[in-house]
């Protein structure tokens, strides 16, 4: 079990309490970073670890920190993206619920490396209990000198504030998250400028996913080399795979990056429920293009999945069996993105709604022969043309479902 970084101590009772966490070696990385390392050395170590963002896009975390200008007179901010909204994804919820101090420790080290004095945890509104747990953990950390002024007797100060979202998928998009955190409507911003230079309250801002930051203490404590060994050279560490759908043991599995999808489903998650036949897998949250049963011998890392035309995304593996109608999958995808489109830009606002109307009609038994082509055409008109990644997140799965399962979908047309 020593290959785990994040879920290693999940079995320990009361891990969410600071004392217990410390008993498992917690907060040693903060001690090391703040007392023995310069911010530049911390940044360097994280860069060496090839830690790629766990929110979905897979952007190298160290590089992201490095973009923050250090020579502007403005304050810098860290926003922890805990707005876990991607359908199928539930890893951050476990990480925060079981091990909130690990996230705080990563937050403290990241803030130290970038020179940040205020950090925000933007957590999805539905995670109320977890938000309370985080607040309790923050209070504990304050009492024990890990947060507040002069942390561990050094000159470093940091405050962490938990902010609950109001339940919009779009607020997981980093610039919409910033708008929402500023108290505005959660509409994505036009990029550039990127948040690293103009972010929260127009100040340089780092936005990292919960899982990304939770990896930091290990990198500092055990070194980049050890972290890299657990994963791949261009993609260090482990991933917390959230497996759901028709498997025997749905749940989260922390495994090295590059683990085969087949291994995840059939070994770790116990194989197909009731020995049903596998039909398809959505490998990285709902916005990842779907894979057929023949495509599951892929190593699960950012580059391999991108090569296969899908994406690792949030590493949420949704397993679909033969008895599940692909039309239901299509309907769920179309409905979700139509419902969650923020409405700001034309292709996403109208395109997702239009496709949803077609799919609803199709599901209602009133499909027409050119409907599938229409969905493909409209999704292609959304893809790559929207203001934020939500457009692609909607278009890619729709396209892949219609292309890979066209034959099955055509079976739902009335004349067939």
């Amino acid at each position: 079990m020593d290959e785990k970084i994040l879920t290693q101590h999940f079995g320990v009772e009361g891990l969410f309490r600071l004392e217990v966490y410390r008993g498992q070696g917690g907060y040693k990385a903060v001690e090391k970073a703040l007392k023995q390392m310069t911010p530049a050395a911390v940044l360097d170590e994280v860069k060496k670890a090839s830690l790629r963002g766990r929110g979905g896009a897979g952007f190298p975390a160290g590089m992201k920190w490095g973009f923050v200008p250090q020579d502007v007179p403005k304050p810098r901010y860290l926003c922890v993206n805990a707005d876990e909204g991607e359908p199928g994804t539930f890893k951050d919820r476990y990480l925060m619920n079981h091990n909130p101090h690990l996230l705080l420790e990563g937050t403290i080290i990241a803030s130290y490396a970038v020179g940040i004095r205020s950090a925000f945890i933007y957590i999805r509104g539905e995670y109320e209990a977890i938000a309370l747990r985080l607040e309790a953990a923050i209070a504990e950390a304050h009492r024990n000198g890990y947060l507040g002024e002069k942390i561990l007797g050094t000159g470093f100060d940091l405050d962490v504030v938990v902010h609950r979202g109001a339940g919009a998928y779009i607020c997981g998009e980093e610039t919409a998250l910033l708008e929402s955190l500023e108290g505005k409507r959660g509409h994505p911003r036009l990029k550039p400028p990127f948040p690293a230079s103009v972010g929260l309250f127009q100040c340089p801002t780092v936005i990292n996913n919960v899982e990304t930051l939770s990896n930091i203490p290990y990198i500092i404590q055990e070194g980049a080399e050890s972290f890299l060994k657990k994963g791949l050279p261009r993609d260090g560490g482990t991933r917390v795979f959230g497996v759901s759908g028709m498997v025997r043991r749905p749940g989260i599995y922390e495994l090295p990056l590059g683990t085969k999808l087949r291994t995840i489903i059939f070994d770790h998650a116990g194989g197909m429920k009731d020995d049903r036949e596998l039909k398809a897998v959505i490998p990285g949250g709902m916005s990842a293009p779907i894979l057929t049963a023949d495509e599951i011998d892929l190593p699960m890392d950012f580059d391999s999945l991108a090569e296969a035309g899908s994406m690792l995304g949030s590493a949420a593996v949704i397993v679909i069996d033969k008895e599940t109608s692909i039309l239901d999958v299509l309907r769920a995808v179309a409905k979700f993105y139509s419902h969650e489109s923020c409405g700001q830009c034309t292709p996403c606002r109208i395109g997702t709604a239009w496709i949803n109307k077609i799919v609803k009609r199709l599901a209602g038994g009133e499909g027409e022969p050119d409907d599938i082509d229409a969905i493909i055409r409209l999704a292609a008109n959304i893809k790559g043309k929207t203001l934020c990644p939500l457009g692609d997140a909607a278009a890619l799965p729709l396209l892949s479902i219609c292309q890979k399962f066209r034959h099955e979908l055509e079976g739902y047309l009335p004349h067939a």
Binding site: A168, T346, P347, R349, A353, E368, K385, L387
Partner: protein
Amino acid sequence: MPKIFIDDRGVEAAQGLTVLQAADSAGIAIPHFCYHPAFAPEGSCRMCLVEIEGLPKLELACSTIVREGLKVRTTSPKVVEARKGVLEFLLAEHPLDCPICDKAGECKLQDYFEEYGLFKSQFKEAKEKREKKFRLGRNLILDRERCILCTRCVRFLNEITKTEDAGILSRGIHSEVGIFESELIDNNYSGNLAQICPVGAITDSDFRFKTRVWFLESKKSVCPLCSRGCNITIDSHPGFPRIPRSRRVYRIRACQNPDINSHWICDHGRYGYAYLDEGRQDKLVWKRGGRETGLNWDKAVRILTEKVRSLVERGKGSRIGVVLNTNLTNEEIFLADRLFRKGLGIEKFFVADPPPEKGDGFLLTADRTANSRGLQEVGLTFHAPDLKALSELDLLFIFGHYLPTAINPADLRRALEKIETTALFASHKSALDGLVDFVVPVPVIAEKSGSLTNIDGRVQSFIAALDFGGDGVPEWRGLLDLAKELKVEHRYFWPLTSPEAVFRVLQEEVPFFK
């Protein structure tokens, strides 16, 4: 200046410009809905996507800043396809009510569809039903079915008036422009919202359903309703009066001038156009012993010249007075000065203007006439009309109908009754009409040519946007005719036959106007 290539054409673009602006300055139009030069780029309509060499995706022309060597394609198949895609999306939910939409004919959605679309609709689903006449403001009606959510209106209220009255409500396909319940948009610039709406979503109830835009003739002019000198477009019906209509002018719109009014005008200037067609003087009249005689200007000039001459010959030149106003053009004020003061030695000059009101701190000034700065720069001083001085006159020329606002009517009546001859040059009917001997109709600013000097000293020339229908003359013409008939400084006045010629002399003589 970075050099960029737009469709293989080299374009020198100023540093910091966007691709869209650089293209625009080179005469290459990139279609757009949400972009407006007065606001920060929004990037939400996705209509201005262009191909940029070396980049995998199409990029926004409205927000991409030019850099040396950038190669842009604005008409490649990929770009045209993307535009079609956006149009298809917008039209999927857009009602086809162009035949009853006021924007038809000047609607960007309609224009771009003509240019890039012309496809048959593939939309088989039911369109969303939305509010068709939501009252946004005093004169503003929002049709939420026509709205394409470009948010120009929201951004205008955030960035220009800073009143933040409107926002986007609801999400996704249900998104709509909304205001705070029961709080209508009420500011002096609300009329601009209907003008900047690229489609027929916000219409102006002042203009709604009155005419089709293609019947209107658009002419540029300068707004004379305060001293800002905002540039305007006057839209009038050229069929008037052949087609029986109660008025010529259907609307006033802001005309862009970055140095004065940017893209905006105030509601005072926009909606206050009734004066152009209402209450106008139209007959040149001579009143003697309670009897009115119709005259033509040639005859009137001879009679007035005779009066002046007989007074001057009898050594009573000092008993001639002139009342001016500051809605006269620079040229007219200059001519009045050169004829009456320099030419005839008249000392009694007065200025009667409408009283100042409150300015709004943005465009509308407290001074509600167009050219007080011009009067000052020509070198005249403001003397308020004084009763005693008036009653000592034998001949009074009154320009403008504002005297009753400066002096109370009873006193004015007594003073004017003592004057042997009074000649009024006025564009509008007023209480003065009954107190004077001659009434000469004159045009308003929109009906004449000349120049005005705004509050900041900016001189703007303009030409007539509307025909002058009355049987009088523009003041500059009247003054020149008087000068010529009187043979005052013959060689000076004789070559002056147009406002342009007068302005050239003004420039020579008054350094300010150089």
